[in-house]
């Protein structure tokens, strides 16, 4: 209870809860509506006025993976499982790499500042604040020349660089919070630099590592533009695959899209709940700590 009191000003009762629930319901409504749509049959989705009570069906979820193509009744695999796999594989690999390189750099920036440390950090943050559209034009040309376009290596490299500034700033903010006296004490006791890093610092920022990797995972998982332009049919991730499913302006299969979104966003709610205390730091790239 003590912990909660620090997090909020004043106590309010159940009346406040009901007001907040009402607001939260309105605010959350779009997501709720998408979830409902995912369980509607196609005719229920198109119904006017909208049907609020209907028999839930899993056909949309089935259609994500198996769908009948034009002029045939035979169900064929759509290859969507592959996009899922790609999303998991590509974001997993790039976050792992970015975290590895980023943590080392963050430790460097925090404990062994260079001349012009702030300038480096500024440049690094700027590369993250950059509109991706500027970077993508030359990257697209370079990838085309080097043959990296459409390969896993290419997109993983791209996403590693995309996650790196975030990882550095985030991890630096965690390292900055540590008490250096413990490190100095272990140095006095003869610990080598590497054992100070692995044995003293890393165990203390475990929570930070977890938060950073989860945020980087979400950022990569949600990323659209790079994947749209740098992957091909085999390496495409979920966001561009969903965008392609929209197709034209007419006859958009919203039930199917809603089902895709459902599968796509489930992990995110869990994470939002678990990381509530780190959320602010995460969404501001570690620049604001509290």
């Amino acid at each position: 209870m003590k912990k909660y009191e620090k997090k909020a000003i004043g106590q309010s009762g159940w009346l406040w809860t009901s007001l907040a629930s009402f607001v939260a319901f309105i605010y959350f409504f779009p997501v709720l509506f998408i979830i409902l749509t995912a369980f509607r049959s196609r005719s229920d989705t198109l119904a006017t006025p909208p049907k609020w009570f209907f028999t839930p069906t899993f056909e949309n979820f089935y259609h994500i993976f198996f769908r009948s193509m034009a002029n045939s009744t035979e169900y064929v695999a759509t290859g969507f499982h592959m996009y899922f796999f790609n999303s998991i594989y590509i974001s997993g690999m790039s976050v792992l790499l970015a975290l590895l390189i980023g943590t080392l750099a963050a430790y460097g920036f925090s404990r062994h500042p260079l001349k012009g440390n702030d300038t480096y950090l500024f440049i690094i943050l700027t590369t993250r604040m950059l509109p991706p559209i500027i970077v993508i034009v030359p990257i697209f040309l370079i990838f085309r020349i080097t043959g990296l376009a459409g390969t896993y290596t290419g997109i993983i490299l791209m996403y590693t660089a995309f996650n790196l500034p975030f990882s550095i700033w985030m991890m630096k903010s965690f390292f900055d919070e540590l008490n250096t006296e413990i490190e100095d004490a272990s140095r006095m006791d003869g610990a080598s630099e590497s054992s100070v890093f692995f044995g003293v610092c890393i165990p203390q920022v475990k929570a930070g590592l977890a938060a950073t990797s989860v945020f980087a995972l979400i950022l990569t998982w949600n990323e659209f533009l790079f994947s749209l332009l740098l992957t091909n049919k085999l390496t495409r991730t979920m966001p561009p695959a969903m965008a392609r499913t929209i197709g034209g302006e007419i006859n958009v299969d919203y039930g199917l899209l809603a089902a895709m979104i459902c599968l796509f966003i489930i992990p995110i709610f869990l994470i939002t709940y678990l990381l509530q205390n780190q959320l602010l730091r995460g969404v501001t790239f570690g620049t604001i700590k509290k």
Partner: protein, 302 residues
């Protein structure tokens, strides 16, 4: 006394510990961000189209001249400015109100907070698809609402320039209001409680408490929220691209969409590079401002 020399000793020298630690990160960023940026900076001085085999031809400031004298970049800058102003403004107001609502402790607060915070973590693609469905003329909720309560006719929001802008602004504001709320909330809970207690004794009015105690504590965070959201909204691409694709006509063609179209639909590669640099300049200015405010805030606290 000189100890062992050689590469390993040079490598392990404590003097070089800092540079060695950051070297891998700098290498990756150099390869994937800085060098491509230099490349496109160079390219902006050439005449080049990526869909032909013609070699780039040096042309001094031709691309910049071409880009700056055409109307479309000014129009798209204006569109972007409208979207930024509308969306960030809406986020600030709604975010502040939401934060006031969630500032006090009440049962189930943490779970309800999750529902409000979730939109921020969603993919732009998911948000765009939802709002596409919401604005859908035939069976979208908005159209049905207007049809049954106001006009009795189908309502196509995205077909008019103003409507499309409002549609984009609303969707973006919905997604990012939780961000502002989170920042304001952090400011609100950092206000020392004894100030409120003292104000209570002095029988200060609610408004006076707000302007003299609460607001000064959240002011710097509000400024940061405005800057951060402005930087992010200037870049807006995914949402517009999927929701309206810049249309109708060029009504919602933000600078991001314009660069995309120039580069990957018309293949005016060097022109798009020049446009990118104009955008880059704006973002660098905003980012330095953002960091300046953060520094100020941190030094105030110490």
């Amino acid at each position: 006394m000189k100890r062992s020399t050689g590469f390993l000793a040079w490598f392990m020298d404590p003097k070089r510990r800092g540079p060695m630690l950051i070297a891998p990160a700098i290498t990756v960023l150099l390869l994937v961000n800085i060098i491509p940026l230099m490349w496109s900076f160079g390219l902006s001085f050439f005449k080049y189209r990526a869909n032909t085999l013609k070699l780039p031809k040096f042309s001094w400031f031709y691309s910049y001249e071409k880009v700056l004298t055409k109307d479309n970049i000014w129009e798209s800058l204006q569109t972007t400015a409208i979207i930024v102003a509308g969306s960030v403004g809406m986020q600030m107001v709604l975010g502040f109100l939401l934060a006031l609502l969630f500032a006090s402790q009440f049962p189930l607060r943490k779970i309800l907070l999750m529902f409000v915070l979730a939109p921020m973590m969603l993919s732009n693609v998911a948000v765009a698809i939802y709002f596409k469905l919401f604005y859908e003329p035939e069976f979208g909720l908005l159209s049905q609402f207007v049809q049954s309560f106001i006009t009795g006719e189908m309502y196509v929001l995205l077909s008019t320039p103003a409507g499309a802008l409002i549609g984009v602004i609303f969707a973006d504001a919905w997604q990012w209001t939780p961000f502002v709320m989170l920042l304001v909330l952090a400011g609100l809970v950092s206000v020392p409680k004894h100030l409120y207690e003292a104000a209570e004794i002095d029988r200060m009015s609610w408004w006076r408490k707000f302007t003299t105690i609460t607001f000064p504590y959240v002011r710097s965070l509000l400024l940061l929220a405005v800057l951060f959201r402005t930087i992010e909204t200037v870049k807006i691409f995914d949402l517009v691209f999927i929701l309206t694709n810049g249309g109708p006509g060029t009504a919602t063609e933000t600078i991001g969409v314009l660069v995309y179209r120039t580069a990957f639909q018309f293949f005016r590669t060097s022109n798009s590079a020049a446009m990118g640099y104009i955008l880059l300049f704006a973002v660098i200015v905003l980012t330095s401002l953002y960091l300046y405010v953060i520094k100020q805030r941190e030094s105030e606290e110490i």
